[in-house]
Structures are given as C-alpha cells and as structure tokens.
Symmetry: C2
Subunit: 148 residues, 2 copies
Amino acid sequence: MEKLNCYWVAGFTDGEGTFYVGINKNTQMTAGFQVLPEFRIVQHQRDIKLLHKLKDFFKCGVVRKNHDTRYELRIRKIEHLSQIIVPFFQKYPLQTQKKYDFIAFAKIIKMINQNDHLTKQGIGKILQTAKKMNRKNKAITERNFQVG
Amino acid sequence: MEKLNCYWVAGFTDGEGTFYVGINKNTQMTAGFQVLPEFRIVQHQRDIKLLHKLKDFFKCGVVRKNHDTRYELRIRKIEHLSQIIVPFFQKYPLQTQKKYDFIAFAKIIKMINQNDHLTKQGIGKILQTAKKMNRKNKAITERNFQVG
C-alpha cells in the first residue's frame, strides 16, 4: 500500500479536517474546567479505509463511528497532538482560512503543555485563544465557560 | 506568492472538488442532447483568494459566485479539461472514492474528443459512464435522458 504524500494530507485536511478545542465545566478539575483539544477528519463510511490509512500515516488516533453513515479519525492524546499533529501542520501548512484555527489550536496545545489549563487565569487565556477559532467552536466554548 | 504544491491540490480536491457531467436535452444538438462536463471547487467567500490561486495554478477556469456566501472555481472548456485537468489528476491521483468519479469523468472527456456526444449511440455510452459517477449526478442524468 502506497504511503500518503504529506502535501496531499495537508490539502485533504484543508478540506476535511477539524481542529477543535472543547472547554467544559468540570468540578473535578482544580480550575473548574476541562480543556479537550482534538483533531479529527470525518468521512462517509465508503472511505473508512482511507481513515485507517491516515491513522497509519500519523501513527496515532482512533477510527470510530461519528454519526449515521460517517466515520472519523480522532486524535485526542495531548502528546500525539503536541509531538505529531502540530509539528506536521507547521511543516506542511494549510492554505485555507482553517490555518487560523490551526494557529490558535497550536497555541492552546502549547499552553496545555505549560499547565495553563490547571489555573483559572490560564483557562481564561485558553478561552481567549479558542474564541479565535471557528464560529461553532466559539459558540460552544462561550456557552460552557462562565467567567468569574 | 508561493505556488500551491501539486499534491496539496490533489488532497484539497479529494475533499472539495467535484467532477460533474450534465447531460441535458437540447433539440438544437444533432443527437438531441448536450453533454456538459465540468470540474469545480466551491468555497466560502472567506477563501475566494485561494480560488484565484487555484485558477492561477491550473491556468484556466473562472471564479464566480456559486450560491449565497459561496464562490467557485469552475472549469468547463473541453480543451482545458482534456489538456490540463485530466492529465493533472492522472499524475497526482485522488485517494478517496471520488477517484471513481474522476475515472468516469476522464472517460467521458475522451469520448467527447472522439465526438461520441454527437451521435445518439455515443450519448448512450456517455450516459452509461456518467451513471457510475456520484448519486446526485446519476439522478440528474437519468431525469434528463430518455432512452429511445
């Protein structure tokens, strides 16, 4: 099986990829919130083999059902996002406006690595950055995050 | 401005491109039908610059409004499809199931170059090939094409 080309993966992600950061209330966390960044690619089930090929390409993530006839490759582990996904898209840059989602996403991953997500102040900074991401994401984070 | 990478263009097309063949009744045509193949990439207006960049990349096509806040790069000229688009995706292959749309599309372009679209029999062959393309396309061609 031929390996996917790195630029092809960047182009396909420009079309089909999502950089998402969920910020949810969680009283079990010291700062009161849980930060859940994820990278995913959703496809119709007819292309499930390609999702597995992408999983092999990145050497991380899980292929699972998304919704109805759709499947996704989902990468959530912070070390995989930090050591594989972020460096990859820094080397093979996105060309659509999605690149600004990625830039904010990469910043948040960096903040998490600095443990910013464990303090109330750090959560505030993460929220400000997440707001720069796509509108759907913004709506979700604003709904879940009550400042003060 | 940096030129787009060929593999990036293939990956982006796997996500966002459409190979479409319209077969419409047209009493002015000898065979009674008009065959209209087109390649298009539709994007939200926020990425209109990228559509122009893709137009520069392929050195053909037109960027125009698609619908509401969406714009498209559309390539319809048979010589551009035949000499630029088809050879490009033969060299930089698609990875999704969309590749089967492309294979059928390329066959139809070849048939048009052989003037098959000018005879009733040729139109029948083109329709059979178009049926192998995406469902939306199939529905449209079946609606418009009355055999016999």
